[in-house]
Symmetry: C2
Subunit: 200 residues, 2 copies
């Protein structure tokens, strides 16, 4: 059976964005698949007592430097959006509106939204941006914008976020493989080694 | 001129302990020296609003797993002490009582204390433990225990902690090379690459 990596990400997390550029290659190298699972990182803040890194005293300045330095190291285009962070409900709902029936298109849209936010520094939460990207990937944009307003899709994101927290997710990116949790873009090396060796 | 790495650490930080096993080798590989600088991590918590990882909801369980997994990966002996975290004033003061006149012995004592705390899981803050280790490294134990009670040494640790925070240190381990900040045991690879390439 093909092994699957669960990749939990928040659309407004710069480190999850960096990981989104790396996780599929790592999985492919080890013959694995990746389940992309956006969730609302903000929902964990009331539990951990933490907040957005960039707004945390002392950590804020460092994290901006570190994100940019890591992006240069991995040769990933990186541009902090002017408004940051933003609530990414529309992005995550759009993903879950698609993922059951069109998983590849859902993933393509997620990558497109990430590129919009951190590749170009634009506001990725706007319906017109999501609609434009949807069209680009052959997705029915009108139907998508309608479906992200439905109670079913709203509830789906709530459930996915609740399940993530239930599983121990408290940051982004967060990965599971063989039920082993790995937190952070900076644990992808260990995750790759885990897949290679079967664990240690 | 030989390049120096500033290594800020907290005696009760497991990740700083892991880094303490790696930093001298990395420095040596690149012809650098290391300035070991203990500080009181707790002093940053009132600024960042964070607290000890192991006491943070959701993060606590993960961090214990991650510390142990990282220790196994780097083949570093690791044992969480029963009482954790403890206030490490006596350890850090002992270091600063020695460092100006006997820098090598100060570093040896720091490594000895770290081994006591996280290698063996013992309480490294007790005067008798510090005294026993001091003797082992040829340090006058009685004079050391006296000097850590002096206003000068107490003030020195306050100043060092204040200077660290002034410089942007908010976690442990924390490194500077060429005034580039690197936070975390998991940034040592980037720090090594920075030394190798001169930066990117």
């Amino acid at each position: 059976m093909t092994k699957a990596i669960d990749f939990y990400f928040e659309f407004y997390s710069p480190y999850a964005y960096l990981a989104s550029h790396r996780i599929d290659d790592i999985a492919e190298k080890h013959g694995c698949t990746v389940n992309w699972r956006p969730f609302m990182l903000g929902a964990t803040f009331s539990i951990t007592g933490h907040g957005p890194l960039t707004e945390t005293p002392l950590m804020g300045e460092y994290s901006l430097l570190d994100m940019q330095r890591s992006a240069r190291l991995f040769e990933i285009p990186f541009q902090m959006p002017e408004e940051f962070p933003k609530v990414s409900l529309s992005c995550a709902r759009a993903f879950y509106a698609l993922v059951d029936d069109q998983p590849e298109k859902a993933k393509a849209l997620a990558k497109g939204i990430y590129h919009e936010i951190f590749g170009l520094g634009n506001d990725g939460t706007q319906p017109e941006v999501i609609a434009r990207l949807a069209k680009q990937y052959g997705i029915d944009a009108e139907a998508l914008l309608e479906s992200i307003q439905t109670p079913e899709v709203k509830q789906r994101l709530k459930d996915e976020t609740g399940n993530a927290i239930e599983r121990g997710v408290f940051g982004a990116p967060f990965f599971f493989v063989d039920d082993q949790p790995f937190w952070g873009n900076d644990r992808l090396d260990q995750l790759g080694r885990w897949l290679e060796t079967g664990g240690w």
